[in-house]
Subunit: 325 residues, 2 copies
DNA sequence: CTGAAAGCGCTTACAG
DNA sequence: CTGAAAGCGCTTACAG
């Protein structure tokens, strides 16, 4: 079923059908009515790809490429982006790349090829060594990044300063009189690295006497064991985690060792995700405002296409949400 | 930059460029090399939409429409689908509709119009009163459903029997000697309804002396308060929740009331999500195998397009994962 | 091995 | 108000 079929059944030319569909140009009231009826009856849907080819009308498709959608930070970002962009009439193509640079390039190629109007990268994985993928993408379509800073033509960033956030956590612990800090993270990304730097410099700034860092894998049980081992072998009075899941594991570890939280051990999570409210005691967690970043980015994309004005650099504030740990 | 530009720079016709790109038909070795070099240099990407128009080549795009991607059940399903489908060369367009039937129809229209090859509905919201949206979609493209049963031409379902799962939970509690059951759910969907029916009939089957049901909203704090109120006013020895988040809230409520879990109160979650491992005590939860359903669906879609053979009805097993509650 | 030409499903000046 | 024709960026018989 195409525009020719409709035209034939309605007894008009395809040009007229096109006008009726798009409400462009003149078309007689009776004619329009007839055409619309035929379209209804035949359950006809005009092809967007053909429209795109014909007049260059945008497909209204934006690509989102993210590290891992099962990580709640990304879930939140994608959820908000989808909601906000769909209000502006954009649909989204989602792809998850993990850390593989090859996979990132593949996603970018796909999006260019499939005529996406813009591309959003979420996650710090896209900064640092994978930056060239982004620079290349920016030659073909506008690029928007959440949670990483990359500079270049046609590139727009929205992020939260990940080392200042950790400084805030350290400061809070310092004010509580804590002096034996542990920082826990899982993967070696650009973002983790910034957090780590933030941790180290804050430890220096506040003259923390005792600090250590551990990196652990992705499996929740193993994470918990690793933390448990560390806590049992090292004198520690507080732990800062690179995300809430790690913090939940830290809580489990502390419970197993019979260490009272928050009396003997402070635990700070990161991202202020749903998980922070599911643990008991409920997690104190650093709110780094993904939601804000995603909302801003959606609006920014929309204004890119409407006014042609988009902001290239946006930094959000953050806040330590103090609960029970 | 299009195929004409490439042809000109390479000094050949566009037909030859096309052949070189697609590895179809003969093209001289030297000619091919030259063309490929030009393409490299010019950073040229052929337009998939034009290819699609020209020879009907599928866009390799599958639409996913789900209730709410922030609910971890859907997150998991989408994550697995994305991973498995991308292996088969399919990219995904994601849209979230909530309960709005109008929104569902809008998403379907968009997917037909944008030439998606198939459409996946995730969630029981799509069964029952919204079924007509699905039936309509199935006239235009193959439909795959996760977690609901809808029958019709071109429709393929994969699900878990939501009333048998709840029966399993009730049976487990019965075997534990529990007699005062509470069932908690949040939204009125087709799926919740099946769970509820399962609960009621199992309560009858096992001659549970005392049972009640509460429905609460979406906000975690409010949920917890509602449950807390119920527990304090009614004699209850176990609670079955329609998802893990509700169960986490139940745990919080019990903790506030000083009710020992699992000694005085059994709590069973549902979906066996990440949340089940973040609470303490860790949640006993019903594993309804979304992951399996998503993997099956991805494979099913692939075989639909390769062999033309797809299974229309697939039911997964399930299992109560017993942890500490 | 290569090119000219028709066609995919649309839109849009242009002419009437 | 309506239609014929050209064009969007490709692919694919067909002829050479």
């Amino acid at each position: 079923m195409n525009i020719y079929d409709i035209a034939k059944k309605a007894g008009v030319s395809i040009a007229t059908v096109s006008r009726a569909i798009n409400n462009s140009g003149y078309v007689g009231k009776a004619t329009r009515q007839k055409i619309l009826t035929v379209i209804q009856d035949e359950n006809y849907y005009p092809s967007r790809t053909a429209q795109n080819l014909s007049n260059g009308a945008p497909l209204k498709l934006v690509g989102i490429v993210c590290y891992n959608i099962e990580d709640m930070y990304y879930t939140k970002a994608v959820a908000v982006l989808e909601r906000e962009l769909s209000i502006c009439g954009y649909d989204i193509i989602l792809s998850c790349t993990g850390e593989s640079r090859q996979q990132m390039q593949k996603s970018v190629d796909m999006l260019i090829t499939k005529k996406a109007d813009a591309i959003i990268f979420i996650g710090s994985v896209f900064a640092g060594k994978s930056e060239s993928v982004i620079q290349n993408a920016a030659k073909h379509l506008p690029v928007f990044i959440i949670n990483a800073q990359v500079y270049g033509k046609n590139i727009h960033c929205a992020y939260c300063d990940e080392s200042l956030t950790i400084r805030e956590c350290v400061k809070h612990l310092f004010n509580l009189g804590r002096q034996k800090l542990l920082f826990v993270y899982d993967v070696d990304t650009y973002g983790s690295n910034k957090k780590l730097c933030g941790f180290n410099s804050a430890v220096r700034e506040f003259c923390i006497s005792n600090s250590s860092v551990i990196k652990c894998g992705a499996d929740l049980n193993i994470i918990s064991q690793v933390i448990q081992k560390h806590l049992s072998e090292n004198d520690t009075d507080s732990v800062i985690c690179a995300n809430d899941l790690l913090a939940a594991a830290a809580l489990t570890a502390a419970a197993k060792l019979g260490i009272a939280v928050p009396e003997k051990l402070s635990v700070i999570g990161y991202n202020n995700s749903l998980i922070a409210c599911c643990t008991s005691p409920r997690l104190t967690s650093l709110e780094n405002n993904v939601q804000k970043l995603a909302e801003f980015t959606a609006k920014n994309i929309n204004s890119y296409f409407t006014d042609g004005k988009a902001q290239t650099d946006y930094k959000t504030d953050f806040k330590l949400i103090i609960r029970e740990t």
